[in-house]
Amino acid sequence: MADPKKPRAPFAPWDRRELPGTFTVEESARRVGHYKWIEMRLFEVLGGWVATVPELDVKLRLGTHCYHHAWHAELWHKRLPELREMNPERLTAPPNDALVAFVDAMTEPEAPELTIEKLVGAYRVLAPAKIAAYTYHLNNTSRITDAPTIRSLGFILQDEMDDWRDGEMMLQSLIETEDELQRAIDHQTKLQRLLLAAGGIAGPGTIGESYITEEETHA
């Protein structure tokens, strides 16, 4: 080791973290509140569905995934006061009524023969939407100022990817006929329309804005 008193750079050559990030404290709190709201709706319905699905493997996976999303909700619940929201319930809300309509439609199936519809809602529509929203947040917030959120996002995204894969594989194993395939497609389309109207799990701008504005074009 060289002389311990010799000055070193505070950021190592391989540490490329930068300031600032895309989100203000307020915007970050708003998004985190929406995340908590959707995670709560998801763990509640997965728990409720356990009793309604006859397929034993699906029943057990739903029970496991129920806890994953409850834990995500707990992480976001604890993050809110750290983002200056001392009443976490105030921001634990959907971004708009359209997302409520989406959740209502996603949680509607109950009958034992509707396992495909239940899984399509949770794993083909909501899971990818959450992965997209969390990834956008992860890649745009400051890795220095918002490190606690990033740490939670890392754990949560790992769960989301694993659970999405589980859900997709369960669906592929359940869909055996043209009719079942059509049911999955129809239900996915119905829910995707509702989610489109909501603009994503955090409302419009959930994954940023991809199109260049008129002003930017002529700047």
């Binding site: 319905v45 009793a51 057990l60 029970g63 129920c66 509607e108 199936p109």
Partner: protein, 286 residues
């Protein structure tokens, strides 16, 4: 999806066969399997490897654990869905604290693992899913519309029974030299102590300012405990097939007087069963 899901609608595949609990309790063949030369003596007694029927009795008990775990999973899951988050003062759908729901979600994961463990252990013991019947009395305790009563019935009565059963199976595995069984039961026992403690803690917290509700919850627990004593199958007697696991119940927040009461409840259930059997005998003799 509805709030509150009736027991008749619990979803199962075609391997499962349901038998009402009262049919089992009222069936003198399962309540008292008299063996030659022991007429009048209660049997079959404690589950030990030297019993002639030990392998079948252990397999039947393991299958019962498996179906019980499914219902415990379903009950915890329904508690996540059936109630709204709030202070408990609202109108309409009963409200529960956010943290209570988190506990129930955690319990879902634990019970799902217990199902997996039970399936693997059943296979290890030579049992197929559906080989024994299922009764749904565990889930029925999880249908109470009052969240405090539901948690007391499920987490203190039902999960308390699980402590007794897992401890019995753990000891059976130890004496029988089945290290796999003993290992798995010990892990599940640790989870159950946690679940019972959850029930004890939430009962205390949610009824701190409502002693009348607390009494109703404890009364409901007493009813469920009596039912779960299965006519003396679970009790504090030397020959009870499943014995009260006092040490582990204490870890889970049970006080001595509560366990004494439970032992008394179990004795009552046993005496009632004995009386029922005598009545059956008399009816057959006529």
């Amino acid at each position: 999806m509805r709030k509150s899901f009736p027991v008749e609608d619990l979803a199962r595949d075609e391997r499962f066969v349901r038998v009402p609990i009262m049919d089992r309790i009222n069936d003198p063949r399962t309540a008292r399997q008299e063996q030659a030369g022991t007429k009048g003596k209660r049997g079959p007694g404690r589950l030990t490897p030297d019993r002639p029927d030990a392998p079948d009795a252990a397999r039947a008990l393991m299958h019962g654990i498996f179906t019980g775990e499914i219902q415990a999973l379903e009950g915890a899951g329904r508690t996540c869905w059936d109630f709204e988050v709030g202070s408990g003062n609202g109108e309409g759908i009963p409200e529960v604290p956010f943290e209570l729901k988190l506990d129930m979600a955690r319990q879902c994961w634990d019970e799902a693992r217990h199902c997996e463990i039970s399936i693997k252990l059943s296979d290890h013991m030579g049992t197929e899913i559906g080989e024994f019947s299922e009764n749904t009395f565990l889930y029925e305790a999880a249908c109470n519309p009052d969240p405090v009563l539901r948690l007391t019935g499920v987490n203190r009565a039902l999960e308390g029974l699980a402590i007794d059963v897992f401890n019995t199976m753990r000891e059976f595995g130890d004496v029988a030299g089945d290290a796999v069984l003993e290992f798995c039961e010990d892990w599940m026992l640790a989870d159950e102590v946690t679940h019972v403690k959850m029930g004890s803690d939430w009962l205390r917290r949610l009824t701190a300012d409502d002693k009348e509700r607390q009494q109703r919850a404890l009364e409901f627990q007493r009813v469920v405990d009596k039912l779960f004593s299965l006519g003396g199958f679970r009790g504090d007697e030397e020959d009870s097939p499943v014995r009260l696991a006092r040490r582990f119940r204490e870890l889970a927040g049970f006080k001595d007087d509560e366990m004494d009461t439970l032992a008394e409840v179990a004795r009552e259930a046993r005496q009632e069963m004995d009386a029922r059997i005598e009545a059956n005998r008399a009816a057959v003799a006529q």
